[in-house]
């Protein structure tokens, strides 16, 4: 089993800017763990702390239960794949892959052999003597992964490694990375700002915003039960309507909003009388031509066909934009643009989360 990574109250400040605030997480050995957040939220900063390029201003980093304080990047059991890949352009592919072994004093013949094995693993046999600039983007990607794996790291740190690739290749590489992780059993810490990527690949996902950890959960949990309004909006599409809590009972809460009164599941720590938002996934919205309990009146704006279903965009009388998924079998009854409709939902499928302390 490869090493676990433990972050205890880690904090990183650059001057008076705090890029990471009190971040704690336990990442199990052999886990595929993603860190998801918008650009500039401190993801790279966090990864560099784990790799040892910077020391945290506060808190501790433990890898394999060993405190990493004072241990520089070249002596940690981690390997990093950089956002820019950072392959060495003046060395042939095999020397790139074997560079970590060279640094460890492994004799040349052995290095060469190991490089060939790794080239097999990444499905690029016979590419050893090519130069980096003679490879395609996806091939470079795989070489970077092989170079990191060559040192047999306990923890592989990946900083948005797929962001430079086109959609098709990205989807292909996702599956490949996932398979590689399963095969090698190495702990992967994977950074991305693409929520579908995080949901598709990870065992667990940590969502970050502006340096603050929002939630750590499995992809299903994250989607079904976001802990904060930020997570609800960031992961997947959602309809969020802000209002005030008026009544809490048996796990359900009632929210009064400009659009009317709604009932939904109460999020953890929700208090009566506070500002909160109700979140309803588009697929939980049902379309009707008459008013039902828990429904919003709206005017259809457009219908975007997406293959398996269609996305209806509508706008309420108060200007709230709304999304609803229309399954294919109901496409026949779909409204025309401009038509007045009602969108309703079951209370169990809506979640009410406190807006306290969160920027709306």
């Amino acid at each position: 089993m490869s090493h676990s990574v433990e972050l205890i109250d880690v904090e990183q400040a650059f001057g008076d800017v705090k890029a990471v605030h009190h971040f704690s997480a336990h990442i199990a050995g052999g886990e595929f763990f993603s860190i998801l957040g918008p650009s500039g939220c401190g993801k790279t900063t966090l990864l560099r702390l784990i790799a040892g390029f910077t020391e945290p201003t506060a808190g501790r980093v433990l890898i394999g239960d060993k405190d990493m304080a004072g241990i520089p990047a070249d002596r940690r059991p981690t390997a990093m794949i950089f956002q820019s890949l950072a392959l060495f352009p003046l060395m042939p592919v095999w020397e790139n892959i074997a560079f970590g072994l060279e640094a460890r004093g492994v004799p040349k013949a052995q290095r060469r052999k190991r490089a060939e094995e790794l080239l097999e693993l990444i499905a690029l046999p016979g590419y050893g003597t090519r130069m980096v600039h003679e490879l395609s983007g996806g091939q470079r990607q795989r070489v970077a992964i092989a170079r990191a794996l060559a040192v047999e790291p306990q923890v592989l740190l990946l900083d948005e490694p797929l962001s430079a690739l086109d959609l098709k290749l990205r989807q292909h590489m996702r599956a490949e990375l996932r398979a590689l992780q399963k095969r090698t059993g190495v702990t992967f810490i994977y950074i991305t700002h693409d929520q579908s990527e995080a949901l598709a690949m990870s065992d667990r996902v940590a969502v970050m915003n502006a340096g603050v950890l929002q939630q750590i959960a499995t992809p299903q949990e994250l989607y079904a039960n976001p802990a904060t309004p930020f997570t609800a909006r960031f992961v997947g599409e959602t309809n969020g309507i802000i209002g005030t809590v008026r009544g809490l009972e048996a796990g359900l809460a009632t929210l009064t909003t400009a659009e009317g009164r709604f009932t939904g599941r109460a999020g953890a720590g929700l208090e009566d009388g506070e500002r909160a938002s109700i979140f309803i996934r588009p697929e939980a919205m049902a379309l009707s031509r008459i008013a039902l309990p828990n429904s919003l009146s709206a005017r259809a704006v457009s219908l975007e066909y997406e293959g398996a279903s269609a996305m209806l965009r509508a706008v309420s009388e108060h200007g709230q934009e709304l999304l609803a998924t229309v399954p294919n079998r109901q496409l026949g009854e779909a409204p025309q643009a401009g038509e007045q409709i009602w969108l309703s939902f079951q209370p169990e499928e809506a979640l009410i989360l406190s807006e306290k302390g969160a920027a709306a």
Binding site: A51, F53, D74, M80, F82, A103, R104, A148, V151
Partner: protein
């Protein structure tokens, strides 16, 4: 050339080409050919010129290698210039790396200004400053005596003075090309190498130096040529025992009055410099086009 004509039209394009040709022929080729002609003739009294004694000969060249003192000075200039080049490289490379990859932008800029400002003063005055610093009763000796590092003043002028003066004079010619080439290296590559466990030495040997080799070669070539052709530093900071080949050439022209011999010596120096350029480029496996970048 066809591009020039395409860009400026045959009239203007042709004019530029003619100017360049005039420059090369008039200012470079012709004087050197005259020197070559001089160097291959014996020194004659004016009334012998055109007479039976006015024949081509290589005796000016053989004289250089026949004369023990001149030969020694020539060889010393060659290896002395090499030493200046290596010393400058040894000082400059860490500095250039620090400026390009370690220092903050402000730190690097401050360092650059500190290095450039002295070059606003002309070379003779700058060298004179070294003359004062290194003189027998000068501040360097006084300082070393006061902290007890030496018991008696040291005669710095001579080989050491020449070396120090030249390193100082040519440091920017080495610094700029190396700094430029190191700053184009992606910092993530250094981090990647470190992350893979490479020592500082290996990072430099395998990543930084190969990346910066065109800059290093350029700096070395510049410094060697400037050192070999230097006159002020050896004249001011040297001693009789540390004479430089340029001083001999100067003497033939302006004191010995033997232009033919002087021309031969100067051409030998020129050939030497060209050879060093070629060999250096060969060693670093770069071509002239890379250097011009």
């Amino acid at each position: 050339m066809t591009e020039m004509i395409k860009r400026f039209g045959p009239g203007l394009g042709g004019f530029f080409i003619a100017l360049v040709a005039l420059w090369i022929i008039g200012m470079v080729l012709a004087p050197n050919l005259m020197m070559l002609n001089f160097s291959l003739k014996p020194m004659l009294f004016p009334n012998d010129i055109g007479g039976p004694k006015d024949v081509y000969t290589v005796e000016n060249y053989t004289a250089l290698f026949g004369d023990r003192v001149h030969r020694a000075i020539f060889l010393k200039t060659v290896w002395g210039s090499g030493l200046v080049m290596l010393a400058t490289l040894a000082i400059t490379y860490p500095l250039a790396f620090w400026m390009a990859k370690v220092a903050t932008i402000r730190g690097a800029r401050a360092m650059l200004i500190a290095l450039i400002i002295p070059f606003w003063i002309n070379e003779v005055l700058r060298t004179l400053a070294w003359f004062i610093i290194l003189s027998f009763n000068g501040p360097l000796n006084a300082f070393l005596l006061s902290i007890g590092l030496i018991d008696a003043p040291v005669r710095w002028q001579g080989d050491f003075g020449v070396l120090a003066g030249m390193v100082y004079a040519y440091i920017l010619f080495m610094l700029f090309p190396i700094y430029n080439s190191i700053s184009t290296l992606e910092t993530a590559q250094l981090e990647a190498a470190k992350n893979l466990g490479a020592s500082t030495w290996r990072i430099h040997r395998r990543i930084v130096i190969p990346h910066a080799k065109a800059g290093i070669a350029t700096g070395c070539v510049f410094t060697f040529m400037l050192a070999a052709g230097s006159y002020v530093a050896p004249a001011l900071l040297g001693s009789p025992g540390s004479r430089w080949f340029t001083e001999i050439i100067y003497n033939w022209f302006f004191e010995g009055g033997n232009w033919n011999r002087g021309a031969a010596y100067a051409l030998v120096l020129l050939v030497l410099c060209m050879a060093v350029v070629m060999v250096t480029l060969k060693i670093f496996r770069v071509n002239l086009a890379d250097v011009a970048k």
